[in-house]
Point group: C2
Chain length 194, copies 2
């Protein structure tokens, strides 16, 4: 429970956030259709009533919000990694380190939030919109960073990085290790990146 603003109005951000966090984690592990509501509810230790109170749209809405929320977290992580970089390649190397560290602490190694939701986008169009929104937002952030750091073709750089990141994430899930990000980071340090 958390008091918001100066009003004494009590807002249960905790439980809503708890649902988002549990959902995000489970979706990344098993994909949208691979997770049952009961499982999310159990992880968050909340009854069904809470879920449908906070997310009247049910599983779809929960997944959408969880994806957008996870997307923002990754985005902040990108900004932070690039902040102190002297070049685009340095920024990428730093970001790869951050993701690799993160993945090393996960078992199983979880998929990219976007990838985990995208699978279901054929049956749930709303999810594709969420995935697209996040990817667009990541791309824009990367374009800005590339431009700021003097990259000659910021748009190409952003596209390429997005591909490499998503690909590396998929390989990491397959191998259940952070190696792909370590190797990608190394390549950027060697100057073999984009």
């Amino acid at each position: 429970m958390v008091y918001i603003g100066q009003k004494k109005r009590m807002v249960t951000l905790n439980n809503r956030d708890s649902l988002l966090r549990s959902a995000s984690l489970l979706f990344r592990q098993k994909g949208y259709h691979g997770v049952a509501l009961a499982e999310i509810l159990k992880a968050a230790d909340l009854p069904k009533g809470s879920l449908y109170y906070h997310f009247p749209g049910g599983k779809r809405e929960l997944a959408t919000e969880a994806t957008l929320s996870a997307g923002r977290i990754v985005e902040r992580s990108v900004s932070r990694a690039f902040e102190s970089a002297g070049s685009f390649a340095q920024g990428m190397a730093a970001f790869c380190d951050v993701v690799a560290d993160r993945l090393r602490s996960e078992s199983p190694v979880e998929a990219c939030p976007v990838a985990s939701i995208l699978q279901a986008s054929t049956s749930e169009p709303e999810l594709r919109d969420a995935a697209r929104t996040v990817l667009t937002s990541w791309s824009e952030g990367l374009v800005l960073q590339a431009a700021r750091l003097g990259h000659p073709a910021p748009h190409d750089a952003a596209d390429m990085v997005l591909m490499q990141m998503e690909g590396a994430w998929l390989l990491a899930v397959a191998e259940q290790s952070a190696r792909p990000f370590e190797r990608l980071g190394e390549m950027y340090r060697k100057g073999t990146g984009i």
Copy 2:
């Protein structure tokens, strides 16, 4: 029904293959957990009995075989694209064209067979093995091509290409267009690839 070899033994490869094809298509569209057996059966126009005769292991076995089979198809496609290439970058550009062409003919644009199965690998470990097998096999093929074409770091090249391809495929699904592969191909032509 198809006669195989000179023996007059009748082998119903058709129905088994039909199941594999329908399954592969649907899994790529909706992911492993997003497809019901009934749907696959309907697409192949076969009853449940046939499925469990050809694949006693049920959905898992069907998905495993479908993934391995689809993996081999992609692998042959890679070999063909690189065959007449004068450099690794040229081969990649050619392969991007092939995939882009292919995706343009699909609606919806379907995910990579590996990606579509990998989501479910947490609950179905057998699927992770299939995904890994395919990825390893692709990687080995790419290493050979890179070495043959005189790439200075064949292993790095293969890794990088795998990341870019999987990433581009994910972006293509999100955008529902072949653009990502067109752009990746362009970059290889411009020499901005690996």
